[in-house]
């Protein structure tokens, strides 16, 4: 059965958008205790005092999705996930800088 609906406006979730930790648990399929551990390791920076009432920036969604997948698919523990995320950030940054530098060293007609 095929169903077409009208054009919908996507809501961009930027760094000024904060989401309740319960929604993070649901969307990223993570236990609250896991998010608390990840926060203790500096992976995410919540606001609020009690973990159940925390709010997290929407920009943490991607990080926690990756954390959730690595834990579920590879059996990585919380400390391992925190390390993996940090190394992935470093890798991405280095790759981006490498691409810029590669463009500097290629011949002009290759641009």
């Amino acid at each position: 059965m095929r169903d077409t609906i009208d054009t919908l406006e996507a809501q961009p979730l930027g760094d000024d958008h904060w989401i309740a930790v319960a929604d993070f648990c649901r969307v990223c399929r993570l236990e609250l205790a896991t998010i608390v551990e990840l926060a203790e390791l500096g992976v995410v920076s919540p606001s609020g005092s009690m973990p159940a009432e925390w709010r997290l920036p929407a920009t943490a969604l991607s990080r926690l999705h990756v954390a959730s997948r690595l834990m579920r698919d590879l059996g990585v523990n919380v400390s391992g996930v925190a390390l993996a995320l940090e190394l992935l950030d470093v890798q991405r940054d280095l790759e981006r800088r490498l691409r810029v530098l590669e463009r500097l060293t290629t011949r002009g007609d290759d641009l």
Binding site: I5, A58, T59, V66
Partner: protein, 324 residues
């Protein structure tokens, strides 16, 4: 449809023990996991590995799969036997999301038609009928990656996303419903940013509210620009005399060409900033022009003569710092 040799996919013999299966899965999952792998087609291979493990780790499914016999080969045309046990079917499905046309789909729980023909659309870890509670549960959130061009991120765009969602018929069987959603993407989205479409995820199977659809923006690599958040970097070739003397040159930006001043004595690798010329936002990103001095070839007598004149008359030693 094509037969999937799950044992071959995980590099196992048909007599593999549960422990051997688990170890083979862990090894293959580490190799192909799309969040960490640099292998070609890692996402596709990872799905195949997950699918193989989903069957082989489950004794009931593995036994059913083994009943098909050992004579099938990977990729061989396949139809389930007419007497195939249908008890695997109608256990509920998982939603799928894809972007028709140019986009790349992402759905970590999407298995092959081969899997569906044998075991239904059941994905990892159970379907919508989780748990025994009668309390209405919200529908599942769905996620997809939305690939767009940098120009679309700059100006905004409209994309169509096709969603396949399970729906329970009145007789209790599951039907997969295909829904197309046209999504307006606002200008200024960044790579990796999440977009939310409230209530566009899977319907609740127990009277709860529908889930949300989350789209992760992936900006395709661009011919000219490197993107970092809202900032973009352009490698800008300049002539040696432009670098030495400075001057005004025309530079492309996402919003159109602008004139930019090159300071006298500029060098290759130097970065110049065009404030606010990156992706729009609050604040907007900047465009960086990374200078690249391009040396013209001495391919004509006149060019050669000019280089020889510089050699004679310029007191310049590029290797002065190397001398003790």
């Amino acid at each position: 449809m094509e037969f999937r040799d799950y044992y071959q996919l995980l590099g196992l013999s048909r007599t593999a023990t549960d422990d051997e299966i688990r170890k083979a899965y862990r090894k293959a999952a580490r190799k192909y996991h799309p969040d960490v792998s640099k292998e070609a087609n890692a996402e596709e291979k990872f799905k195949q590995v997950q699918e193989a493990y989903e069957v082989l780790k489950d004794r009931e499914k593995r036994a059913a799969y083994d009943q098909l016999g050992a004579s099938w080969r990977e990729g061989q045309q396949f139809r389930p036997p007419p007497d195939w046990d249908s008890t695997f079917h109608a256990r509920g499905g998982r939603g799928r999301a894809r972007q028709p046309g140019a986009g790349v789909e992402i759905d970590e729980e999407q298995f092959s038609d081969f899997f569906s023909s044998l075991f239904g659309d059941r994905g990892m870890g159970g379907g919508p009928f989780r748990g025994g509670t009668r309390r209405p549960r919200a529908g599942r959130d769905q996620r997809a990656r939305l690939q767009i061009d940098l120009e679309e991120a700059f100006r905004g765009a409209t994309q169509t996303v096709e969603l396949q969602q399970p729906e329970i018929r009145p007789d209790g069987t599951i039907e997969t419903r295909t829904k197309q959603v046209r999504v307006t993407i606002p200008a200024g989205v960044t790579d990796g940013q999440q977009l939310r479409l409230s209530g566009q995820g899977e319907a609740s199977q127990s009277g709860g509210r529908p889930g949300d659809l989350y789209l992760e923006v992936a900006i395709r690599p661009h011919r000219l620009y490197q993107v970092n958040g809202r900032d973009v970097t352009l490698t800008l070739p300049i002539a040696p005399w432009e670098a030495a003397l400075g001057g005004s040159i025309t530079v492309p930006t996402l919003g159109g060409s602008v004139d930019m001043r090159i300071p006298a004595g500029a060098q290759s690798g130097q970065r110049l900033r065009l404030r606010g010329r990156g992706l729009p936002g609050n604040p907007p990103g900047d465009q960086y022009a990374q200078l690249k001095v391009v040396v013209p070839p001495a391919s004509t007598p006149q060019a050669r003569s000019l280089y020889e004149q510089m050699q004679r008359e310029l007191p310049f030693d590029p290797r002065a710092e190397l001398k003790g």
